[in-house]
């Protein structure tokens, strides 16, 4: 095992050396670094050219420059020495600093998108695998292919037009006309009827209920101008919490486990009490506090499950913990909604909250909630574009993996010994279907930080992709190399992790020592 890892790391280092040499030469050969000055008529043209060639060290041939760069870069290997030197860009800013900034921007952009895409994709994949050859399956398959075929820059422009400009216009006067409300209700009702499955009567019933509820809610929103001053309030949190408690228990323990259901419901009750108790505290929120509160919430859930106990204490603890986390999320969501009018009327936002470019409104001032809302409204469009595009892969892959597992002998055995369908799907099939998905996820996380060049360009986010493109445009190898090294190292490390995870999760697979 250890020899395997060492061998992999040594090969990776050699590959990295070769590829970085190649990338450096290619970047240096990709154009004329002085082109912008050659065209200019500025009186100090020659000085500028001399300064630039001095900065980029153009008098030295590219292969020798690479080794100079390598000497600086190799100092990064010494930990905590602070001697890391990846060169400077044309603005004379150290690449290490530029990289740090760009990395944060890119990670905020892609993290949420990837997590969402994985969660939704895997869920959809499992549902479609369980309902193979149903209307739902065909619908989702078609959507997956459609999203897979969409050019992201096209989606991005559409989203900007309809998601941002259209929605902002709507927010100016958030009244939903009655036909629109009925139309949206009917569409969602139809979707619900397709998802529901079962016999036509059950489908019609579920579809009808969803239609009625959605239409009523939309009319209520329209009448009360909810979108101006959104909020959930304790009542909605309570109702949603009970619903979540049932759903979580159904998935984690099964409704027959009354103790688990009890602990989940108690968690909702505690959450409602906490809703009132915690409001003053939330007014002074910081990011760290929210994280600590989230951990505390989960711990409270675990404690509730432990106290309620039951024949399977672990299941009670799990369902209570998940439920309390979700209720906590609802409470935070409610607080965000309370901050919405403040954000909406902010002098910098001026009533057009959904932004089309950038990562934050320049010079915005406000408390934690306003600033977070600001980055949220900036992230929502690129995130939805990325989710749409990358959803398809996960859905298809999970579906295939799940179908293969559902055909295995041990699933038949599990059914034969009389386990409930929930246990068969969630315990036996789902966990094993996750093994190949885990490797794909590791790969994608490895490719994350370099993976959104076009999205960053379209939404003007100054992340890794921007740095990379900027380097190419100025024919400056340093930023290009910085981005390349970061991307390549993460990709290789996560490839290794993917392989190791596969052999750890599936004992039939052994890595070659």
């Amino acid at each position: 095992m250890l020899t395997y890892i060492v061998r992999r790391l040594v090969t990776a280092a050699l590959i990295l050396l070769g590829a970085s040499f190649l990338v450096y030469l290619l970047t240096a050969a990709s154009g004329d670094p002085l082109a912008e000055f050659r065209a200019s008529n500025a009186p100090n043209r020659d000085q500028l050219m001399a300064a630039r060639s001095n900065l980029l060290d153009l008098d030295t041939p590219a292969p020798i420059r690479y080794f100079k760069w390598l000497a600086g870069a190799s100092q990064c290997l010494i930990p905590f020495a602070g001697t890391c030197d990846l060169g400077r860009n044309t603005a004379n800013q150290p690449i290490t600093a530029a990289l740090g900034h760009a990395l944060i921007q890119t990670l905020t952009l892609v993290t949420a998108a990837t997590v969402l895409a994985i969660l939704v994709g895997i869920t959809l994949g499992i549902i479609t695998a369980l309902r193979q050859y149903s209307t739902l399956d065909y619908g989702v398959t078609f959507m997956a292919f459609l999203f897979f075929s969409l050019p992201i820059f096209w989606v991005a422009v559409l989203l900007k037009e309809f998601g941002a400009i259209g929605f902002n216009n709507f927010l100016r006067n958030p009244e939903i006309p009655l036909p629109a409300a009925i139309g949206i209700g009917a569409a969602l009702g139809l979707v619900a009827a397709i998802i529901a499955g079962g016999d036509p009567k059950r489908r019609a019933l579920i579809g009808g209920v969803v239609f009625a509820v959605v239409t009523a809610v939309l009319i209520y929103f329209s009448v009360t101008l909810w979108f101006k001053t959104p909020g959930l309030g304790p009542v909605v949190i309570g109702i949603a919490g009970v619903g979540l408690a049932y759903a979580v228990t159904l998935l984690t323990a099964g409704l027959k486990n009354r103790k688990a259901l009890q602990s989940a419901l108690i968690a909702v009750g505690v959450g409602l009490v906490a809703y009132f108790a915690i409001q003053p505290l939330l007014n002074q929120a910081t990011f760290l506090m929210i994280v600590l509160l989230a951990i505390a919430t989960v711990l409270v859930g675990v404690a509730i499950g432990y106290l309620v106990g039951g024949y399977d204490r672990g299941q009670s603890m799990r369902s209570a913990a998940i439920t309390s986390f979700l209720v906590g999320f609802l409470i935070v969501l409610d607080r965000f909604m309370q901050a919405w009018p403040t954000y909406f009327d902010n002098s910098r936002v001026r009533g057009r909250p959904i932004a089309t470019i950038g990562a934050s409104t320049p010079n915005i001032e406000g408390d934690f909630w306003v600033v977070s809302l600001d980055s949220f409204t900036h992230l929502i469009l690129p995130t939805s574009a990325l989710v749409l595009i990358s959803l398809a892969g996960y859905t298809r892959f999970t579906r295939a993996s799940m179908l293969e597992i559902m055909n295995m002998d041990y699933i038949r055995t599990a059914r034969a010994k009389g386990l409930s369908e929930r246990t068969v799907v969630m315990r036996h099939a789902f966990r094993n279907a996750l093994i190949p998905i885990a490797t794909i996820v590791a790969f994608d996380i490895g490719g994350l930080i370099g993976g959104a060049v076009i999205t960053e360009t379209v939404f003007s986010v100054r992340g890794m992709g921007f740095l990379f493109l900027d380097g190419i445009q100025h024919v400056d190898p340093n930023p290009v190399m910085g981005v390349f090294i970061c991307v390549a190292i993460t990709a290789m490390v996560f490839n290794l992790i993917a392989d190791l995870a596969y052999s750890a999760l599936d004992p039939r697979v052994r890595v070659k020592a």
Partner: protein, 374 residues
Amino acid sequence: MAEQAGLQHQAAAGIEPVIEAKGLSQGQIVRKRFLGHSGAIVGLAVFAVIFVMAFTSVGYAGIPGWWKFGHETVTPLVNDGAPTSSVWPLAWGEHPFGQDRIGRDLFAMTMRGAQQSITIMVVIGLIAGLIGVVVGALSGYFRGWVEAILMRLTDVIIIVPALLLAAVMAQMANRRDEAGWFASFASTNGVLAIGIFLGLISWVGLARLMRGEFLSLREREFVDAARISGASNARIIFKHILPNAVGVLIVNVTLTMSAAILTETALSFLGVGVKSPDTSLGLLISQNQDAFSTRPWLFWYPGLFIVLICLSINFIGDGLRDAFDPRQKKFNARKAKGTGGPIAPEKTPVAAMEGTAVNESAADGTAAGGTRGA
């Protein structure tokens, strides 16, 4: 007899009986399955229509087409450039897709762009398929140092960003003053150059897959039998192993091709792909993205054609995958539940065994999802 009855009984439980394998060659089975896949057939039909329309309307390689405008022809604006086609009454009109700001016909430009995309796709498919097969076959069959060198080469190419290579190539193509053969070739056949170049870098996923196939196939008994009968290495590779790996190859070439269309449009969008005055679907969108509020049709039609081409190729690929996959059994959860559990008459072999499987599944993943530059 008892065995047969047992098989039939099992087949009733959730899995459609496999009757198609009786007395049919592999080609016949594949054809039959493919023709039975409605999505693939629709995809094929849509692609055929687009193909014929794109290549006959504005002409190709000097042969004039039936459409009255070329993609560079400037004509006076009709109806302020808005599309003149209508569904009811059904009519083409003078400019069915509208015109751009200076009066070029969008239908002609879109057809020209579709031509470019299809050309690039085919070139990439051919080159990537060829190199991928050769590299994968050599490294998978001979192993040893051949494999070590070729696989390290693929590793290097996989991590070099395609965008950088495209930028380098675009730069080289632009140096028209230097009379290099590459520069003169690229300036006259810009699209072909991009296709060749993208083909030269997109074979890596295919090579890894083919290596995996060869690694598992070379251990099979029929290869031993061929070797004992005195077959040469070349004969074993081409006559015995390759026909067995052709399914994986075709499916993944198709998927590479659909990803290649998106890559080309993305590169053109970023300004390192097809350059004006020639046009491509990605370039059209890039040029017109700011005009969305005033002339939305300039944005809709090229995008629609990208999606249509890519979608139909993906459906064809899906149909091919279903047709080639011998493990494909129609498992029906609802039926299985009704009769008390799904039973596979032939057990699906466990796909993952002993190390190499990790690479295989990994390569699978990159071929499916990793090749698209988001």
